[in-house]
Symmetry: C2
Subunit: 478 residues, 2 copies
């Protein structure tokens, strides 16, 4: 591991958690979940000190893997009584340090709860435990001819529980919405041990405050999700994909606006800037044009009667908006290859340096080009390599900073640059995070986006769920 | 007005609000909003003692009509300081007494805030004040070639603020979702006077807890909504409608299941039972068949290339499921007439008696027929006339009880019958309200649906927003 990954550029990381476990933490937890499902060995504590966020780490005192809702409840009751922090997590693919145990305590890993309890074609829903991976859910739905629409980039490893906890987005957000739009009901355990069931199996249900949506995106700070009921759709008959190259991101952005103005809201409208296209082509050799200023990937799904027509029309609109070249994927293999180009942006960029910081901000769609200009200008000023890709349809950008191993001050400069980038997003009516979450990494910028009064309100809501403040302390609501 | 409307069958109505205003309430309010916008005359107090819910009424001490966010904030600060209840409302078309001022105090009417601030085709959104009617918003969107998807039955009078406060549903819920799926951001005033802005102009924004959705459906108990940013869609090129008659609701319900199993999720799938069809035909003379056991109205919208095909396919599926007759509307006029049949169910039934109680419950779609059987059996046992219509696609039923003027004990029997109907909905994995809300009318049944622990949690959340308990007391969170 590169040494810079061990430093905290902004002092945002908590210090080492306080000394040794209170009393016999491991023994007490073993009494609840069984000895085999508690880990206090060095390897486990080091592994669960991190998630996928660079620069953030803090060792827990114990790792516990409950096997059922009752065990989750018993651990939480115990933790509330003793005042021990608990950080719930799934696969740990989070990118804003939302599952790093900043204050030590217990990391509660929910991957043993990995059963798909039900897939109902009649009711168009599935009921799953939180540790099921997004792909496993999507595959189970597909086997019944159904679609689970949310598709976060990390879907092969990310869990449904984590998707719900972060309100994960993905490549199909414009047409299908994000995770919140597809959650019908939750079973969740409050930090004080009560098990609540919110929502249910229904599209229409207004009995009580919308706790289903409040828990969706609450990043493990209000309750631990132990079951989710999610909506499914009939699988579209057909999917199509195409690619358009432009001289500049500004041109690509105008093309996106023209597509929407034409009355088309396609499933996928992704962009890669020149630096990303270059990195992806070097990494994957897909035959992408490296001379263009921007690549726009578009796709739609639907009935056999419409998809080809919609794709052709998007292609025409892109041509009209000045595309250098438009190609429609002639077969599924080519479409998959194009989507792979988008999906491999992060690994492709990661190869270029020793430390890669993938960020997440959103602006209104028509301000995309302006935002990318600001990102590029900021990167130049701080002497950083920042490539940008993301979801053009919903204005969700992923500026990604790649640092060289010999750049001793790189992480500090990147931190200052991203602070400016988030401020720019807010100034353009955008937000500091579109889909990754606030976690620990974005918490310093939250008040700039939502205001001090709202931050104070979040704290009061957090207290209503978690009076002892044991659930994921130092994050949202702290 | 019929005398039974003045009695409370279950003692659920609060007593007369305590005496006269504290100090000079009217004068204090006039100092904030101007003398012209405060009413304490008998006519106003009587008018704002009620909403559209039969049997519930309670007089406020003053009615205030603020003209801007700052006035809303000043009234709320004043009310929190003095401990005076405030009940926000729009058009008062609520059907669960959510806007009846049970504890007296101030009714805050938001209809002066009736400006459409922005309709943006580029961003596919509109920004409106809360007093704009749903139809005015839909019309403004349509003029730009856009669709505001939620269409509650009361849309010609209901306000967007009220729609958000109740998470209103409507006839297009299955395909398009309900109000919560279309709200991007809110400006709202806390009971303590702080103005917060939640969400914004973005589809993807996870900065903080999802207060936008928490306020949506909070029924005026957490904050007063002073502005809403809502998502729009490109208007569909074409809309089509058809009607199928069946021997029984069980047959119609099987047809609905068969449509979904065929991979079709149409915009509209509404049903009327025999009693409703009969009342509507008598009322509107649309040429409906009165000999059938159930009418299924289906409709879809989308591209010119698909709508006719989808409608024809739904017709075939209905035939296959045993429809007595299927007709596709040959033109827009006939389609409008068919939709009018559904929309006039309530007025048509209201003519049959002196008091009409329209209720709202939801069950999973495939249990619709079973639920209607239970409703009919309950009605017979209590010697009541209950007709049922509703949204077959999402299982949302509106059992409607029509009482005779000479039925002295009718309201009491209806109350007992509905208690059984809600219990039946819960037993069938359904809920006590799909789209009307909890208000005062459903509060006695809330714990049966969501459990005591969740009710206690709602109270703590309410307290986080409203420490003095002044906002719509006696409702959700009380």
């Amino acid at each position: 591991m590169h040494t810079h990954a061990e430093t905290d550029p902004a002092g945002r990381r908590a210090g080492d958690p306080a000394g040794s476990p209170p009393g016999d933490l491991a023994g007490d937890l073993a009494a609840i979940v069984g000895r085999d499902h508690v880990r206090t060995d060095d390897g486990a504590l080091a592994a669960y000190a991190r998630d996928a966020t660079p620069l953030f780490h803090a060792r827990p005192q114990a790792v516990v893997l409950p096997g059922c809702t009752e065990e989750v409840a018993a651990v939480l009751r115990y933790a509330t009584e003793r005042g021990v922090p608990v950080v719930p997590r799934g696969a740990g693919s989070n990118l804003c340090a939302a599952t790093v145990p900043l204050r030590g305590g217990i990391v509660m890993v929910l991957t043993r709860l990995d059963r798909i309890l039900e897939v109902s074609p009649a009711e168009l829903l599935a009921r799953v435990q939180p540790g099921v991976t997004t792909t496993a859910l999507a595959d189970a739905a597909a086997r019944e001819g159904l679609l689970y629409a949310p598709d976060p980039g990390s879907r092969t490893v990310s869990t449904v529980g984590g998707n719900v906890a972060t309100c994960a987005g993905g490549l199909r957000g414009l047409k299908y919405g994000v995770t919140r739009n597809h959650v019908l009901g939750l079973e969740a355990v409050l930090p004080t041990g009560e098990v609540v069931r919110t929502g249910g199996r229904l599209w229409k249900d207004v009995a009580g405050y919308d706790l289903t949506r409040l828990l969706t995106g609450s990043e493990g700070t209000l309750a631990v999700i132990t079951e989710a009921t999610v909506a499914l759709l009939p699988a579209p008959e057909e999917t199509g994909t195409g690619v358009a190259y432009f001289d500049s991101l500004a041109d690509a952005s105008r093309a996106v606006a023209a597509v929407i103005a034409d009355g088309i809201v396609p499933a996928t409208l992704e962009f890669l800037d020149r630096k990303c296209v270059s990195a992806v082509e070097e990494f994957a050799g897909l035959g992408l044009r490296r001379d263009a200023g921007a690549l726009l990937l578009f796709g739609d799904d639907g009935s056999r009667r419409t998809v080809a027509g919609t794709l052709a029309r998007i292609g025409e609109v892109c041509q009209g908006a000045g595309a250098l070249e438009v190609t429609l994927a002639e077969d599924v293999a080519r479409a998959d290859a194009l989507l792979a180009a988008r999906r491999c942006s992060l690994p492709a960029l990661s190869r270029l340096g020793s430390l890669t910081i993938l960020e997440d901000a959103t602006v209104p769609r028509h301000r995309l080009a302006e935002m990318v200009d600001r990102i590029d200008e900021t990167a130049d000023r701080h002497d950083l390599r920042i490539a940008t890709f993301g979801h053009a349809g919903d204005g969700n950008l992923h500026p990604t900073c790649v640092l060289d191993p010999d750049d001793g001050e790189g992480a500090e400069r990147a931190h200052r640059a991203f602070a400016e980038i988030f401020a720019a997003a807010i100034a353009l009516d955008g937000t500091i995070t579109g889909e990754h979450g606030v976690g620990a990494a974005k918490l310093p910028y939250l008040a700039d986006r939502i205001g001090d009064d709202q931050v104070a309100l979040l704290r009061r809501i957090k207290k209503a769920f978690d009076p002892a403040g044991i659930l994921n302390p130092g994050k949202l609501g702290s």
